[in-house]
Amino acid sequence: DLVFPSLSYRTGPYAAGGIPFADGYADYFTLLNERDGGIGGETIRVPECETAYNTEKGVECYESTKGEGALVYQPLSTGITYQLIPKVTADDIPMLTSGLGRTSAKNGNVFSHVFNFPANYWDGASVAIKHIMEQEGGSLEGKKIALVYHNSAYGKEPIRTLQELSEKHGFELKEVPVDHPGQEQKSQWLQIRRDKPDYVIMYGWGVMNQVAVQEAANIRFPMDKFIGIWWSGSENDVLSAGAKADGYKALTFHNVGSDYPLYDDLKKHVIDTGKTAGAGDQVGTVLYNRGIYAAMLVAEAARTAQEIHGVTDITGGQMRDGMEQLEITEEKMAALGLPDFGPEFSVSCDNHGGEGFVAVTQWDAEAKEWNLVSDFMQSDQDVIQPLIDEDSKAYADENAIEGNC
């Protein structure tokens, strides 16, 4: 069988985000088992382990599940990712950190076992600017953009990129950190009210998102000029602000809603048979879709691995190869019942991160749903690639890594 451990967090401060993702991740595999009998005839097992978003528990989960023949890890927490990077490399198990983790892991030459396709934090920052530029008719000269960020490693990720971009495009960048957990943001938003930036980009997580959206509404900051990263763009983040959140935007690297053929199968094989992972009430939410998407990527990588190695019961190392040669095309997605669900991309030995296509979604408070309002746009590789090279080189030097490609 194929083992895909799910390091989930259904408790703790970020439970609200962890539950839908974990549900989607598990439900997709259940569907494959129920409908197709697994992948390539191998049934799939998804042992779940609760991390509560806590690095130590994450390590414990990793250690306790890796012995079962785990094929890939998705730690879903930047902190846990950092712990696991050296460990998975030593244990020859790949790790997928879509839209999170260590951005420079895109450089597969240095990070042989870490993948972060289809997009990373720096892609997000770049696309946000791109979107703003579109809104502003092509120029950001003299504009003011504020970055409200979770004052942690994760929140600080986009700063370098944005600084580069501000030089390139001539806008003024204002950094506004919010300390964990972010329940009180009065002074940050007063600062924003006073500085009157043209746009606000947010890298938030957990309760910080809800409070920020609320506070933005309170100071009557125009919601359509407020753009969150994908971790600040779920239903959880906007619902508590009610109607005032209408128009708030967020980035995404996959599509929204449940209007796909796959969901019919899901309903038939999983939901109606009562085999859902959680309460079954998360289907179609943004984070549930992200779980589905992540599972789909993993499943396709496993299929690829089975093909290139000619065995069905693959090992972690073979899974890694499968991920490295993964190609996601529109036909593939359509065949899976997920047409147009995400960008096309392909992975290679030096590029573990895909092409960096990101789209923008917008919240419709009345209908209580997210809508895609832009195409998938590619990030500014000219800015990002040098940064990735620089950061991964530092890591390679520190850890004496020669390069795999």
Binding site: A16, K186, V207, N236
Partner: protein
């Protein structure tokens, strides 16, 4: 009015308002500390629990539905009714009183006369327990709490000040409500503690519970009373904070904002909680605005609140309004 001054005033006023919200949480600590010398670590979790219960009741959620479904394989989630906010608040209060009773009956009754640190420890156990029960009972998804409190900028103040000074001040409606509620609570609690028989008994228990027992004060009753009061304060705090951020686990972390307030105002003083809250609120906001954000890279509020309290404490080790520590040999 020069801009910088206008902003500073605005920050100052918002600091006051934030301080009131901190004080609301701190009040719960003070009540229990005053009456039993217990430093109630669970106060934040109680606020969360109260808010969860309130939402759960309003939405007609089936308590423990996850557990029931997991064990029995059923699919129950909602009763299918909605309870009006007012009634739900009353019902929640009943739950909090039951909780107070249980806390007394099953925990503190057996720990009478133990050292403060041990009582503190028990409240830690309680915090774990309540957090688990709250999650099991109502689920850990984020919930929207809407009891109809106004939120957002107060237009009247904005316009009025704009006309008067050329700069419209931002004051949040929710903060105004919170200030009024806090004022009523504080006045009520001070009157209670100072002038009623039960209030006096409460202070007596705090000083020397054995002696209080010896004159016939029932510790059980007094403690249930204060824990209920603290539960009520927790509910109020839960409503105010829940309105800002939705009801979810992080609500229990508001306790951290209350600690410096407590320390500055004094663990035993109800007015101290308010004054401490105001000083902390204003201090941290002004510092962030004038020094933190421009020179230190921001996000200084957390530590600054504690540092500020620390400086006050060095001069008054029992806090501004705390009872003087009687040191005699």
């Amino acid at each position: 009015m020069p801009e910088q001054l206008a902003f500073t005033i605005e920050v100052f006023m918002n600091g006051l308002m934030a301080g009131v919200l901190y004080a609301l949480v701190a009040l719960g600590f003070v009540l229990i500390y005053k009456a039993s010398g217990i430093f109630n670590y669970a106060q934040g979790v109680m606020a969360l629990f109260a808010a969860l219960t309130l939402v759960g009741i309003m939405e007609g959620q089936v308590p423990f539905s996850h557990l029931i479904n997991a064990i029995l394989g059923t699919e129950v989630h909602h009763f299918g009714w909605h309870v009006p906010a007012f009634l739900a608040i009353v019902l929640t209060m009943v739950v909090m009183i039951v909780l107070a009773y249980c806390v007394q009956r099953f925990v503190f009754r057996y720990l009478v006369g133990q050292e403060p640190i041990i009582l503190f420890m028990a409240t830690i156990g309680l915090a774990y327990f309540l957090e688990g029960v709250g999650d099991l009972m109502w689920g850990s998804e984020i919930k929207t709490l809407d009891v109809g409190l106004p939120q957002g900028i107060n237009v009247w103040i904005d316009e009025f000040t704009f006309d008067a000074t050329g700069y419209g001040f931002f004051i949040d409606n929710l903060d105004i409500v919170a200030s009024i509620v806090a004022a009523i609570l504080v006045i009520g609690l001070v009157m209670f503690a100072q002038y009623t028989k039960q209030g006096r008994a409460m202070r007596a228990v705090a000083d020397d519970h054995q002696a209080a027992l010896s004159v016939g004060v029932s510790l059980n009753f007094i403690w249930i009373l204060v824990w209920s009061l603290a539960g009520f304060v927790a509910l109020v705090a839960g409503i105010m904070w829940g309105a800002k951020s939705g009801v979810q686990f992080s609500l229990s972390l508001i306790a951290l904002k209350a600690l410096p307030v407590l320390m500055l105002g004094g663990f035993t003083s109800i007015p101290g909680a308010i004054v401490g809250g105001l000083i902390i609120g204003v201090g941290e906001k002004l510092f962030e605005f004038l020094i933190g954000a421009p020179f230190l890279g921001g996000a200084t509020e957390n530590w600054f609140a504690y540092m500020l309290a620390l400086v006050f404490l060095v001069f008054r080790p029992q806090g501004l309004f705390g009872e003087k520590i009687i040191e005699r040999v």
